[in-house]
């Protein structure tokens, strides 16, 4: 049984359609990455699953129960984006408070809170008031409160937001560890590199609709393109290669050779050998998740000006200064 399943899920905020027929399925024990620009509807999807926001239409199930079922939330951990922990708590007292809401015993609360705070590196500061924490520390606390009660599924909305590179690595390792223990993890992020590194499956949400969904390998499949560089002083036989039926794009000192459907790179390599040219660089080009994402989402984020992925030039006067 899938941990998360939605079918034709819709959500309207007044006249604004935040989700337009979203259907996703997340299997147990996987890390699922949901990519999308700010305002694409990622958080809305998670909030519907948790009962924070009501759906307008469609189906949404979490752990086999209709989304929003109170009792099911015992088995769920959640780190919202832009979370705001009560400043009057310390990390330890906050986890104790949440532990009571989850119905954990005193011993369980104490043991798991200490362990979780140790894992996220907050043990030394766990008795300090949260209002004294940095953004990164609050983010670590957010992750700790999402998993300390041993949930079956964890929803993380921008989990590495405000965390330094070392911390990000630690979080990635932690998520892998949780996954290895059977936990299902649903990550919302616009940090493509992060998602690419940890996710088993990825979906791209654009303006309330899933535009691509699959494994990372699926999405970053080979593009049948090779990048070639010859030894210094040697000219690349562009026209000869084109004559063989391979389109070539030059960006000195490299040349990209596209391999048409049904062909291989071998005829080009034979040509170079015949011409006694010395090969210095030959790499099969792959798409990154970022390439795929930018390709799919070629527009400004909702509510901002459309720029087709380009930065507007700085004002001339400023540059002159």
């Amino acid at each position: 049984m899938p941990v998360v399943s939605t079918s034709n899920l819709c959500k309207n905020y007044g006249r604004i359609a935040a989700l337009r027929g979203v259907s996703v399925t997340v299997e147990a024990g996987t890390i699922y990455g949901l990519l999308g620009q700010n305002g694409a509807g990622k958080s809305t999807l998670v909030k519907i699953l948790l009962g924070i926001v009501k759906k307008s239409n469609g189906e949404a199930n979490l752990l086999g129960a209709p989304a929003g079922t109170t009792a099911i939330r015992n088995r769920v951990g959640y780190l919202p984006e832009d979370h705001l922990f009560p400043g009057y708590h310390s990390a330890r007292s906050l986890l104790d408070f949440y532990g009571r809401l989850y119905g954990l015993s005193r011993a369980e609360r104490r043991g798991r809170a200490d362990e979780a705070l140790d894992v996220v590196g907050l043990r030394k500061r766990m008795d300090s008031k949260i209002r004294t924490y940095s953004k990164g520390m609050k983010q670590r606390l957010g992750i700790a409160q999402a998993f300390f009660h041993n949930p079956d599924v964890i929803f993380l909305d921008e989990p590495t937001d405000g965390v330094d590179p070392v911390g990000r690595k630690e979080i990635r390792d932690l998520l892998q560890r949780l996954k290895s223990e059977g936990c299902t993890i649903f990550v919302n992020s616009h940090l493509l590199g992060e998602v690419e590194l940890i996710s088993d499956r990825v979906a791209i949400l654009n303006q309330g609709q899933i535009v691509r969904e699959g494994t990372v390998a699926d999405l970053t499949r080979q593009t049948n393109r090779y990048t070639i560089r010859l030894a210094d002083g040697q000219a690349f036989p562009t026209e000869d290669v084109r004559a063989l039926g391979f389109p070539v794009t030059a960006h000195n000192p490299f040349h990209d050779v596209e391999i048409p459907e049904g062909k291989t790179i071998d005829p080009v390599l034979h040509l170079l050998q015949r011409e006694r040219l010395s090969l210095r660089h030959l790499v099969e080009t792959k798409q990154t998740l970022e390439d795929v994402f930018v390709q799919m989402v070629e527009s400004g984020e909702p509510g901002t000006d459309r720029r087709q992925g380009k930065t507007a030039p700085l004002p001339t006067a400023k540059r002159a200064e």
Binding site: K54, L84, P86, Y102, Q145
Partner: protein, 464 residues
């Protein structure tokens, strides 16, 4: 467990601000001031003759159970051999009743017979507009009901026995001093006609409610004056603690707790808590109860502390005053329901504070207007009267709005019952109208239920 968790969280939130500490310091200062009060009983040699002379002319008919006050003409009381032993007072009492004409019974026999009877016809007298007694002066008296001299037949007077006389005198000590258990024994000695001798033992007399006490502040450093113990405690409990103190406590509690719900529904905070396995309605109600627990604990410290310290300093221990703790909590429950409703709809603590205090002010104004309207209606001869519409507005407002002021009046009555003597209570109850508990509590409860239901509906159906 979830309820306890929310309660603890609310308490932690309340203790986070500095206002609560200011309030606790003020409470401690006030309790310290109460602790510095000293009560010195006035000497029995002065009190007994004065009280017998001044107060024993009044009695409560129907063996002390009547609501109407009767008078005793023609009886003289002469105490002698007054002895004090700790708080106990013993003396011999000579009662002289003016002999009746034509062989009729003397005035004391008549008084005893009249005391046994119901009041019969009453007269309504104009009463003074002010008085030095507490609570009597805050509303001008329009009329004062007094029993006409109760007609006693010769047979009824002749039937009066010594045990009836002792019961009458014992009841008088209960009515005027609040001494229950006075022992009055007829002296077996021949006396002239109309003269009676009794041995009187008043246990714990100097600690009784009606016994005058010399009151001092700062452990006697400042002499305040001589007032009845019950009246002093009544003023402290009703006017100072349950009046000014409770008013300040309510206002501060409204301010402190007004942040509870807005902080809960704040963006970034709400998602965290709603994602936990607790229903929205339950969460809101628990948070509401958390606010009530806060004021309950606060009032328990203030009222309970005052009660204990006053008890230790004065020897007066009447638990009825402790009813002020749930009463103040209940009054706050009404205000906090308004605060919760406003907070759920606006998410703003400032709006919750302003509208809640505004609501309390409107209720106070309506209560005051109703009291004034009742007074003016009772004085048809008054030179100035409101227009009819003003009476209608005050009456309608009082009928349909929660009885905020009524709860206060009822608490005054409970406090008075625990501190004042029966005769003082009679003066108090003829000068004030007291609402019924059912109406006062019921209407407020209905308002609380409706406001919480609206808040829960909104909270349950909102996104985020």
């Amino acid at each position: 467990m979830q309820f306890c968790a929310i309660l603890r969280d609310s308490f932690r939130e309340a203790m986070d601000g500095f206002v609560i500490y200011v309030m606790l310091v003020l409470s401690l200062l006030f309790l310290g001031l109460i602790a510095s009060l000293s009560f010195e009983p006035a000497p029995a040699s002065r009190v007994i003759p004065d009280v017998l002379l001044q107060r024993f002319v009044l009695f409560l008919p129907e063996s002390g159970a009547s609501q109407i006050i009767g008078t005793i003409p023609g009886v003289r009381y002469e105490p002698s051999a007054i002895e004090t032993e700790g708080s106990h007072v013993r003396f011999r009492l000579k009662v002289q009743g003016t002999p009746g004409r034509n062989g009729e019974a003397d005035a004391f026999r008549k008084a005893t017979a009249a005391w046994k009877k119901p009041p019969g016809k009453t007269v309504k007298l104009s009463a003074p507009s002010t008085t030095s007694r507490p609570k009597l002066g805050d509303k001008p008296l329009s009329e004062f009901e007094l029993a006409e001299p109760i007609a006693v037949t010769t047979e009824e007077a002749a039937a009066v026995t010594p045990p009836m006389m002792t019961a009458f005198l014992e009841n008088q000590f209960a009515v005027h001093f609040g001494i229950n258990g006075a022992q009055v024994t007829p002296v077996d000695q021949t006396t002239p006609a109309g003269e009676y001798l009794f041995d009187v033992h008043l246990p714990r007399a100097t600690a009784s409610r009606g016994w005058p006490q010399s009151l001092g502040l700062f452990f006697g450093g400042v002499e305040v004056g001589e007032v009845g113990l019950g009246q002093t405690i009544y003023i402290l409990e009703d006017q100072i603690v349950n009046g000014i103190g409770a008013g300040i406590s309510l206002m501060i509690a409204v301010v402190i707790t007004a942040f509870f719900i807005p902080n809960l529904v704040r963006k970034g905070s709400l998602d965290l808590i709603i994602a936990k396995p607790i229903g929205r309605v339950r969460l809101l109600l628990y948070k509401y109860l958390g606010g009530l627990t806060f004021i309950f604990l606060l009032s328990a410290v203030n009222f309970g502390g005052t009660w204990v310290i006053l008890g230790l300093r004065s020897g007066h221990w009447d638990p009825r005053f402790l009813l002020a703790i749930p009463m103040l909590t209940f009054t706050f429950a009404l205000l906090y329901a308004v605060s919760t409703l406003v907070a759920v709809f606006t998410r703003s603590a400032i709006a919750a504070i302003i509208l809640t205090l505004g609501f309390a002010f409107v209720l106070y104004l309506i209560g005051q207007a109703k009291s004034l309207a009742d007074q003016m209606r009772a004085m048809p001869e008054a030179p100035f009267h409101w227009p009819d519409s003003a009476y209608t507005i005050s009456d309608t407002g009082n009928t349909i709005l929660p009885r905020y002021k009524d709860l206060d009046k009822l608490m005054s009555l409970v406090t008075a019952e625990g501190t004042l003597t029966p005769i003082e209570m009679r003066f108090m109850t003829v000068t004030k109208e007291f609402p019924s508990w059912g109406e006062a509590v019921g209407l407020s409860l209905a308002y609380i239920a409706v406001m919480l239901a609206c808040a829960c509906w909104r909270f349950r159906n909102r996104d985020g």
